[in-house]
């Protein structure tokens, strides 16, 4: 899994796995001939080229070697980043600023804004066609472009949040908050837990809840990156979204234990135990459910776009990773762009089952033939990325506190929101 | 020590406070192998001062700990004042014990150490204070009441340990080698003090020591133990004059008895070294002869001997002589400034004071 909240153990295992490399053109820290005169550095995560899964690793080794065969004078020095994404990315930004950064790197989509506003990314316009750019999902295109229309990075896969439901109890996908509450209460009557979602102290809670704010057109920060979520209309939209969750818990449509959920695996466990009726989770969980549940039970589970305040006000949180270049060398930028598109955004996604960032790619590969991918592609049109600003993690932190306090009955939505806004403003001052 | 203070006794007269003690077939076994205490029987009268003596590992300390209730009896009976106490814990036996290392509570001052047992047995703070003050006075500890044990000398600690025991008027008073950590002079003083204390505060006392001098000087009766068993019970003089076994004879008395093997027949005693001695004993066969230092005298006849070493003690002198017949022997002599090592003389054994033992069983024969 390579999502914004990568599972720590997976990464740790991947890092410690010893790789049996087929030839000396690829080593633990290099791709290409050791004596090549030109060097570029590439910082990546440990899920593909250095995957602990042999087949995955070999697949990417083959692709990297094929690409680098076109650049016999070049070698790539690879640098692995750990699964502590926030820290790794913050450190990388500092290194780039000090001129010690890599030439090319994987950048978490939620952190991309930081790098954009720092002005450290080298445009890749020359290496993509207008068609390729136009084909990107709107939130993706916005995410990777600057004000002048330069492509500063390539968002090579995305993820999104969806609503899972047991169709034996809830045959039709709930489209509105009201529908969801009613459907959840139906499952409670059937002895299930209602709807489950992240409500504890972690990023997933804010991430899964924010679409309810975004669906109303709410904005966390303004164009300058200043927090505005408690100002004007945004405040009402915040309160509406908070009260949506609060009503779910108060009505019994969601159990009070949602405030303890700080892991998507809880939902898989509940589905496996037969106690879940509905839950809001990530797209990647569909594959996990397939692996966890019996074929018979799995057939009951379907996913749909997250419900909104009304059927036509919808949004979903998106994640995923981008690849950007920090190098001034034209060839290095070119290699970086080609790695991003030719290896990762296309064949790599098809191989790993990760969601491409443009609609046409879903048709290009058989791997994306399942009905779930149609639903993903459809929902991604309403995808919203978290604002790539340095204050976002603190906004998320305060939203987690806010939701916990409200859902556990420790604070009213209004008070909790004011407290969160005040804390975010104070933190913003310090940035 | 000032012993003029009246002992705390409401009736004002010497009432026997101590209880009797009976041990019946007492056995203590720690595991497979020989028992630490191997079936001993002992009757102690009220207020009697009995000393258990023997070499280390003979079971004397274990016996004391069994009486105190610090060890569980494997077999047999312990009775205090006629009542069996096997099932009672140490706290319920109403005995007091003075430990070898004093076992003072390091975090309590002298007064608290002495009063601890009283308080634990329900005495009020005021009662305890009064009793502690009295005991402290008897033991001359009044000046030290607020000191911690760490600030006391060995002798002072010893007195505190005794104060802790006497303050409660226990039914039994148990001493476990209480003087072994003191220097020789202090040991002598304390020996006297304990004896006087017992005279002043008569309590049934069981006193364990490995030092036969202590046993002889302090006891009403001495119990000599060896290998978990009692060898002999008797007054100090009985033990000294009529040891029932070679073990007792060798253990008691300083300098030690000299032994020599020989054969007893109608002609008398012939030692294996060839020396012939007249002897009136009835026994016939191989025997071991035992002679205390005072059973040999210098004379013109007897064994040829050469003086090896002198230990002048003032009032008398101990002399180590080398002889053909008996090897090295100690002789108790009046001080004689002319004697020098290397001098030669003849030693005459006084056979009326000789002891004879069976060389196989070690028992006394007559």
């Amino acid at each position: 899994m390579r999502f914004a909240f990568a599972y720590p153990l997976t990464a740790a295992l991947a890092l410690t796995a010893t790789a049996a490399l087929p030839q000396d053109l690829i080593t633990r820290d290099r791709v290409g001939p050791a004596d090549a005169p030109n060097v570029m550095t590439f910082r990546l995560t440990a899920f593909d080229l250095y995957s602990s899964d042999d087949a995955t690793r070999e697949f990417f080794e083959e692709r990297f070697l094929a690409l680098m065969a076109e650049y016999p004078d070049w070698r790539i020095e690879t640098q692995l980043q750990t699964d502590n994404i926030g820290q790794e990315q913050a450190r990388m930004l500092e290194q780039v600023r000090a001129g010690r950064g890599p030439d090319c790197a994987m950048i978490d989509s939620s952190q991309l804004g930081l790098f954009k506003s720092a002005g450290v990314l080298s445009p890749m316009n020359a290496h993509f066609t207008q068609d390729q750019i136009d084909d990107l999902f709107p939130f993706v295109r916005d995410g990777v472009s600057d004000a002048d229309g330069n492509i500063l990075a390539w968002w090579w896969f995305t993820s999104l949040q969806v609503l899972y439901r047991d169709t034996s109890l809830v045959p039709d996908a709930p489209a509105t908050w009201e529908d969801l509450q009613a459907a959840a209460l139906t499952t409670v009557e059937a002895g299930r837990e209602g709807v489950l979602f992240n409500g504890g102290r972690w990023e997933g809670t804010a991430f899964d809840w924010l679409p309810n704010f975004w669906a109303q057109g709410g904005e966390l920060v303004d164009a300058d990156g200043r927090p505005v979520f408690n100002e004007g209309d945004n405040r009402d939209k915040m309160l509406a979204a908070i009260n949506f969750y609060k009503d779910l818990v108060d009505s019994g449509a969601a159990p009070s234990r949602v405030t303890t959920i700080i892991n998507y695996d809880e939902f898989n466990a509940a589905a496996a135990a037969g106690t879940a009726g509905l839950f809001m989770g990530g797209n990647w969980q569909y594959g996990q459910l397939r692996g966890t549940l019996s074929e018979e039970d799995f057939a009951n589970w379907e996913l749909s776009e997250l419900p909104g305040p009304s059927a036509d006000q919808r949004a979903t949180g998106t994640g995923g990773w981008t690849i950007g270049a920090f190098s001034d060398d034209a060839t290095a930028v070119e290699i970086c762009a080609r790695i991003a598109y030719e290896i990762y955004a296309t064949e790599g996604n098809a191989y790993q089952g990760l969601l491409p960032t443009s609609a046409s790619l879903y048709d290009a590969y058989d791997a994306f033939d399942g009905p779930e991918y149609d639903a993903f592609a459809e929902a991604l049109v309403n995808g919203v990325a978290r604002p790539g600003v340095a204050i976002y993690p603190e906004i998320s932190n305060q939203l987690q506190v806010l939701l916990g306090d409200v859902l556990s009955g420790s604070a009213t939505p209004e008070d909790a929101l004011d407290a969160a806004a005040a804390a975010v403003d104070a933190a913003f001052e310090r940035l | 020590m000032n012993m003029t203070t009246a002992r705390p006794d409401p009736s004002g007269q010497a009432v026997p406070l101590g209880a009797t003690l009976q041990l019946r077939d007492l056995v203590k076994r720690y595991g497979p192998g020989p028992a630490a205490v191997d079936g001993i029987n002992l009757d102690v009268a009220a207020n009697e001062f009995v000393v258990l003596v023997g070499p280390s590992g003979c079971g004397k300390s274990t016996t004391l700990r069994l009486i105190a209730g610090l060890e569980e009896v494997t077999d047999g009976v312990i009775a205090i004042a006629g009542d069996q106490v096997n099932h009672l814990g140490a706290a319920a036996r109403d005995v007091a014990m003075v430990f070898q290392n004093y076992a003072l509570y390091p975090h309590m001052n002298v007064a608290q150490n002495i009063g601890f047992g009283l308080r634990r047995r329900g005495a009020s703070r005021a009662e305890a204070k009064k009793a502690v003050a009295e005991a402290a006075e008897i033991l001359e500890l009044t000046e030290l009441m607020h000191r911690l044990p760490g600030d006391l000398s060995g002798g002072q600690k010893q007195r505190v340990a005794m104060g802790r025991a006497i303050v409660r008027n226990p039914r039994l008073f148990l001493f476990d080698e209480p003087l072994s950590n003191l220097d020789a002079r202090l040991r002598l003083t304390m020996r006297t003090e304990i004896k006087r204390l017992h005279a002043r505060v008569p309590t049934t006392t069981i006193y364990v020591t490995h030092d036969q001098t202590e046993a002889m000087t302090m006891a009403d009766r001495v119990v000599v133990m060896n290998a978990g068993k009692i060898e002999q019970i008797g007054t100090p003089m009985e033990i000294y004059d009529a040891p029932v076994s070679r073990f007792v004879a060798g253990f008691v008395g300083a300098p030690a008895m000299t032994f020599a093997d020989g054969m007893l027949d109608d002609q008398g005693l012939t030692l294996n070294t060839g020396l012939h001695l007249s002897c009136t004993a009835q026994h016939r066969g191989p025997v071991t002869l035992g002679l205390r230092p005072e059973a040999l005298t210098l004379g013109d006849s007897g064994m040829a001997a050469k003086l090896d070493m002198l230990e002048p003690l003032g009032a008398e002198t101990l002399a180590l002589w080398q002889t053909e017949a008996l090897g090295a022997v100690w002789v108790r002599m009046p001080p004689d400034p002319t004697l020098r090592p290397g001098a030669t003389a003849h030693l005459q054994p006084d056979m009326t004071r000789a002891h004879l033992f069976d060389p196989v069983t070690g028992r006394r024969v007559t």
Binding site: Q87, A90, E94, L114, G200, R201, W202, P255, S256, R257, V258, T259, T260, I262, E266, A269, A270, A273, T275, A390, I391, P393, E394, N397, Q400, V401, G404, D405, V406, L407, S408, S410, A416, A419, A423, A427, E429, R430, L431 | A68, G69, L70, G89, A90, A91, D94, A96, M97, A103, L104, Y105, P106, H107, M108, F116, R120, R121, G150, R164, R168
Partner: protein
């Protein structure tokens, strides 16, 4: 006095290690606390803004209250559990009971588990899902399930339980060693003096272990004040801020707000609290019987 100057040669490694490992980082934290450093940019100026921002934070009161409660409950329970297990072990050893080694190993095993893993283990146990380990058991024996983590009050207790489960081994080792060092003859003397087991505990064991109690109080308090990994994995500090302690708050401030200056200012507060508590313990426990 040793006049030979070469003596410094022998001290040098120790001083270098101590200085490098302890003093330099502490000095750095103090320096950062007066700076405007963030995780994203180096220091550009010095001042008191970090302190002002951190100490004016509305959440600080709740966080300090949580810290106090968590530390108080943890320290008392850690010492009590550690002492109880240590005395149990000593008793078992004395009676040559089987399984004492196993018990020691089990308790120690909890200690070597990383805090994060400990938090995850207890999260599974406290899970309020219908299949949660403890609640399922309660239901089996006919008791009502407990809102271990979703109720803000219970969440704190649960965090303490998780912390105590893991940390008791440390106190146990300290107390076990201290209890074994008490001269057994003192207990014999006390029992001859008529002291019941309870009286022996109060009048012999506790005073004799005063040094261990003092040292352990200090160590366990500092350890607990610095605990955040278990809570991070168990509740993340939630629900809301119900279990957010100062160390976790500092972690959040630095890694969510990137506020290195403000976070360091709070770290200095944490350091001050630890040192103040240490001094108080020293005064209280050394006062009596100080020699």
């Amino acid at each position: 006095m040793i006049r030979d100057r070469r003596v410094w040669l022998w001290f040098a490694p120790v001083m270098l290690v101590l200085g490098g490992v302890y003093l330099v980082p502490v000095a750095d934290v103090i320096r950062f606390s007066f700076s405007d450093a963030t995780l994203l940019r180096p220091v550009t100026g010095y001042g008191l803004d970090g302190y002002r921002a951190a100490y004016n934070d509305d959440s600080l009161g709740v966080v300090l209250r949580n810290t106090g409660l968590f530390t108080l409950l943890s320290v008392i329970s850690l010492q009590a559990m550690g002492l109880a297990i240590a005395l149990l072990l000593v008793r078992g050893d004395r009676r040559r009971l089987y399984g004492m080694g196993a018990l020691r190993t089990i308790v120690l095993a909890a200690w070597v588990i990383p805090g994060i893993a400990n938090g995850l283990i207890w999260q599974m146990l406290f899970s309020e899902a219908p299949f949660g380990a403890i609640n399922s058991t309660l239901r089996l024996i006919g008791l009502a399930p407990v809102a271990w983590l979703s109720d803000p009050g219970n969440a704190m207790i649960s965090a303490v339980i998780a912390n105590v489960w893991q940390g008791s081994a440390f106190s146990m080792i300290v107390f076990y060693a201290a209890r074994r060092a008490v001269d057994p003859v003192l207990y014999e003397a006390a029992s001859v003096d008529g002291a019941s087991p309870v009286a022996q505990f109060i009048f012999i064991t506790i005073p004799q272990m005063r040094g261990a109690l003092l040292v352990n109080s200090i160590l366990v308090t500092i350890q607990t004040l610095n605990t955040f990994d278990t809570i991070l994995a168990l509740t993340g500090g939630g629900p809301g801020r119900a279990t957010e302690v100062l160390s976790l708050n500092i972690f959040n401030r630095v890694f969510y707000s990137y506020d290195l200056g403000g976070g360091s200012a709070l770290a200095v507060l944490l350091l001050a609290i630890s040192m103040a508590l240490t001094v108080i313990y020293l005064l209280v426990l050394m006062r009596k019987g100080a020699r």
